[in-house]
C-alpha cells in the first residue's frame, strides 16, 4: 500500500473530552498529536491524568467532546457506528491490561477472533491466527485454553490477536500492568520487535524505565499532552 508521505497514521486536533457529571471531569483538554507510521510511542503520566481516555479516543472506542481524530487521513468524527467498527476491524489492534481473552476458546480461536468481524473465512482465520501465534512465540500452544496459560502467555495471545489483521496502529493500555517485571520485559521486547518489523505502536505505561527505552514519549498531565525530548 502506498500512502502520501504527509499523511500520519493518526492525528488528533484540539481534542477535548469532558465526562458529564457534577462537576464535569475534563479528562482531556486540547490535545494535539500526530503519530507517524512505524513509530513506537510511550504514553506516561500519573494515574487519572487521562492516558486511557486518550487511548480510547485514538481507538475510536470513545469520541472527543470537541476536536477531531483522523486515522490515515480520514476524519472519524462524522463516521457512523458501522463505519467506525469497520475501521477498527481493519486498521486498529488493541491490547488490554486484563487481556480480555475468551476462556472457552483455545488460543488459536481467540486470535482468530481478531479477524471475525472482517468477514474472513474460518479456515483462513485459523491459518492467519497460527502465523500470528508463531510470531509471538506461542506456536506450540495453539490449542491451549487461556486458563492453562501463564499471564505472560495470555498477553502474548492478546498481542497475536491485535496483530492478526495487520492493523495500521496497535494501541496497548498498560499491557504489562498485570505482569511481574521479568514477564513484562518480555512483552515489551515483543512489542519492540513488532515495531522493528514495521508495526506502529502506542503503549501506555506506568513504568518509567520502560518508557525510557522507547524512542518517543508523550506525557499526559491533567488532560494535557506534553511531548518529552528523547532521553538518550
Amino acid at each position: 500500500m502506498t500512502r502520501a508521505s504527509d499523511t500520519a497514521v493518526l492525528e488528533l486536533e484540539g481534542v477535548h473530552r469532558t465526562y458529564p457529571g457534577s462537576p464535569p471531569v475534563n479528562a482531556l483538554v486540547g490535545v494535539d498529536l500526530r503519530i507517524e507510521a512505524g513509530e513506537m510511542v510511550a504514553v506516561v503520566g500519573p494515574s487519572g491524568s487521562g492516558k486511557s481516555t486518550l487511548l480510547n479516543i485514538m481507538g475510536t472506542l470513545d469520541r472527543p467532546t470537541e476536536g477531531r481524530l483522523l486515522i490515515e487521513g480520514t476524519d472519524t468524527s462524522k463516521l457512523s457506528d458501522r463505519r467506525l467498527s469497520g475501521l477498527r476491524s481493519a486498521r486498529l489492534g488493541f491490547v488490554f491490561q486484563s487481556f480480555h481473552l475468551i476462556e472457552t476458546l483455545s488460543a488459536l480461536d481467540n486470535v482468530a477472533a481478531g479477524l471475525l468481524y472482517r468477514g474472513t473465512s474460518g479456515r483462513q482465520r485459523r491459518e492467519m491466527a497460527q502465523i500470528a501465534l508463531e510470531k509471538v512465540g506461542l506456536g506450540d500452544r495453539l490449542h491451549a485454553r487461556p486458563t492453562k496459560l501463564s499471564g505472560g502467555q495470555r498477553q502474548r495471545v492478546a498481542i497475536a490477536r491485535a496483530i492478526v489483521a495487520e492493523p495500521s496502529l496497535i494501541l496497548a493500555d498498560e499491557p504489562t500492568g498485570n505482569l511481574d517485571t521479568a514477564t513484562g520485559d518480555g512483552i515489551v521486547d515483543l512489542l519492540k520487535q513488532l515495531n522493528a518489523d514495521g508495526s506502529t505502536i502506542v503503549v501506555i505505561t506506568h513504568d518509567a524505565d520502560l518508557a525510557a527505552q522507547l524512542p518517543r514519549q508523550i506525557e499526559v498531565r491533567d488532560g494535557a499532552v506534553r511531548q518529552r525530548a528523547v532521553d538518550q
Binding site: 477498527r88 486498529l92 486484563s98 472457552t104
Partner: protein
C-alpha cells in the same frame, strides 16, 4: 475509506453457541424453564388429540349408523309405539336391521338371595337386537328364535356385575316377577348403549306370555346404510307411528359419545393456558439470565466492539443466544411432551396422535418467546459504551 465490518452468517451462529457453551449449567437450567412450558402444551394437545383419535376409532368400529326410535317422553304418560312399528321400519329402504325392545317395571334379583338389585330391570327384546347392536357375549350365547319364548335371560355386562354373576358356572338362575329365569348369556360391553348394559334381557314372547308384558315396543334400534343415514333418518318416525310422527323421537347414540369429546375442549384450553403461563415464565427467566449475562460479559462485549463488531453484531449475537436457548428448551420440551403423550396414550390403549402442527408451533412459540426475551438485554449490550466496557470487565 471502505472498511466495513462483516460477520458471516455461520459466525453469527457459532459466536452465540460459544456464549451458551461457556455457561452450560445455566444454559441447561434456563432452557428447562421453556422446556416445561412447551412440554406441557405439547402433552395437552397430544393427549387430547390422541384421545379424540381413539374415540373416533372407537366410533368407527361401533358404527355411527345406529339409530334409536322411541316414544317421546314429553307427555305425562309415555304412549308406547305401535306393535307394527318394528316390521314396518324393517321394510324401509336402506334399513339393514331393526329390533324392538320393551322396557318393564320388573326389578330382578338372584333367586338365592332375597333382595332385589336396585336399578336392574328386565327388558323384553326381539332376537334381532343382538345383531342390530352388533354385540357379542362374553359367556354363553345371545337370545335367538329358539329361546324367544323360554324362561331364559341374557345379562347386560353391568347388570351381570351388579347381580354378581360373572360366568355361567353352575347355571345361575334369577328371579323376574316371581318366576325363575335361567341365565344363558352375558353380553360384552356396549359403549353406545349403556342403558342396555344395565338390563336383563328376556325374549319378547316369554315376556308377553310369562310375565304379561304389553307387546308394544318402547324403543326400536335401527341399523341403516352408513352412507344414507341422513336420508333414512327422517323416514323412521312417520313409519313407526304413521298417525302421530311427532310422538316419536329418533336419536343417534354415537352423538352422545361425540359430544363427550367436545366437552373436553374447555379443559384442554385451560391446560393450554397453563402451559402458556409456564412458557411466559420461562421467557422471563431467559430475559433475566440474559440481562445478567450482559452485565457479566461487559468485557467480552467491549473486546468484540474493539475487534470491529458493530452494535448490530452485538445485538444479533445476544438475540440469537436467547433464541437458541429457548429453541433448545423448545426441542427438549417437544421430546418431553411427546414422551408424556406416548406414555399416557399407550397406557390408555390409544393410538398415539401427535399433530405435527402442534410440535412445529411449540418450537415456533419457544423461538418467538426467546427472541422477545432477548431483545431488551441485547439492546442493552449493543448500547454499552465500548470504552467503558473494555475498562470495566476483567478477562
Amino acid at each position: 475509506m471502505m472498511d466495513r465490518s462483516k460477520l458471516r452468517a455461520r459466525d453469527v451462529v457459532s459466536t452465540s453457541v460459544v456464549g451458551l457453551r461457556s455457561r452450560r449449567g445455566r444454559t441447561a437450567l434456563t432452557a428447562l424453564g421453556i422446556a416445561i412450558g412447551i412440554a406441557s402444551m405439547v402433552a395437552v394437545v397430544g393427549i387430547s388429540s390422541s384421545s379424540k383419535a381413539a374415540l373416533i376409532a372407537q366410533l368407527d368400529s361401533l358404527g355411527t349408523n345406529l339409530l334409536r326410535v322411541e316414544a317421546s317422553s314429553t307427555g305425562i304418560s309415555i304412549e308406547p309405539l305401535p306393535i307394527e312399528a318394528e316390521p314396518m321400519i324393517r321394510r324401509v329402504e336402506n334399513v339393514d336391521a331393526a329390533a324392538a325392545v320393551i322396557s318393564t317395571e320388573f326389578e330382578v334379583r338372584r333367586n338365592d338371595r332375597d333382595t332385589n338389585v336396585v336399578g336392574i330391570n328386565a327388558m323384553a327384546a326381539s332376537p334381532e337386537l343382538f345383531e342390530t347392536l352388533r354385540v357379542d357375549t362374553t359367556a354363553g350365547r345371545p337370545l335367538d328364535d329358539g329361546l324367544r319364548a323360554l324362561p331364559v335371560v341374557v345379562l347386560g355386562d353391568v347388570a351381570a356385575i351388579r347381580l354378581g354373576i360373572t360366568d355361567l358356572e353352575g347355571g345361575p338362575v334369577i328371579d323376574v316377577g316371581g318366576q325363575d329365569f335361567v341365565v344363558v348369556g352375558i353380553l360384552d360391553e356396549l359403549p353406545l348403549n349403556p342403558d342396555i348394559s344395565r338390563k336383563v334381557l328376556i325374549g319378547d314372547q316369554a315376556a308377553i306370555e310369562l310375565l304379561g308384558v304389553e307387546p308394544n315396543p318402547t324403543a326400536i334400534y335401527v341399523r341403516v346404510d352408513p352412507d344414507l343415514i341422513n336420508e333414512t333418518r327422517p323416514l323412521l318416525a312417520p313409519t313407526a307411528h304413521p298417525g302421530r310422527p311427532a310422538k316419536v323421537d329418533v336419536s343417534r347414540p354415537s352423538d352422545l359419545l361425540e359430544a363427550r369429546a367436545e366437552v373436553d375442549q374447555n379443559l384442554q384450553n385451560l391446560l393450554l393456558a397453563l402451559g402458556g403461563v409456564a412458557l411466559l415464565v420461562g421467557g422471563v427467566g431467559i430475559a433475566n439470565v440474559m440481562v445478567i449475562s450482559v452485565l457479566e460479559r461487559r468485557g467480552e462485549i467491549g473486546l468484540r466492539r474493539a475487534l470491529g463488531a458493530t452494535r448490530g453484531h452485538i445485538r444479533s449475537q445476544f438475540v440469537l443466544e436467547a433464541a437458541l436457548l429457548s429453541g433448545l428448551g423448545g426441542v427438549l420440551g417437544i421430546l418431553l411432551g411427546s414422551g408424556i403423550t406416548i406414555g399416557y396414550a399407550r397406557r390408555q390403549g390409544w393410538v398415539v396422535d401427535l399433530p405435527p402442527l402442534a410440535l412445529a408451533s411449540g418450537l415456533g412459540a419457544a423461538l418467538v418467546i426467546g427472541m422477545l426475551a432477548g431483545f431488551y438485554p441485547a439492546a442493552k449490550a449493543a448500547r454499552l459504551d465500548p470504552a467503558l466496557a473494555v475498562s470495566g470487565g476483567s478477562n
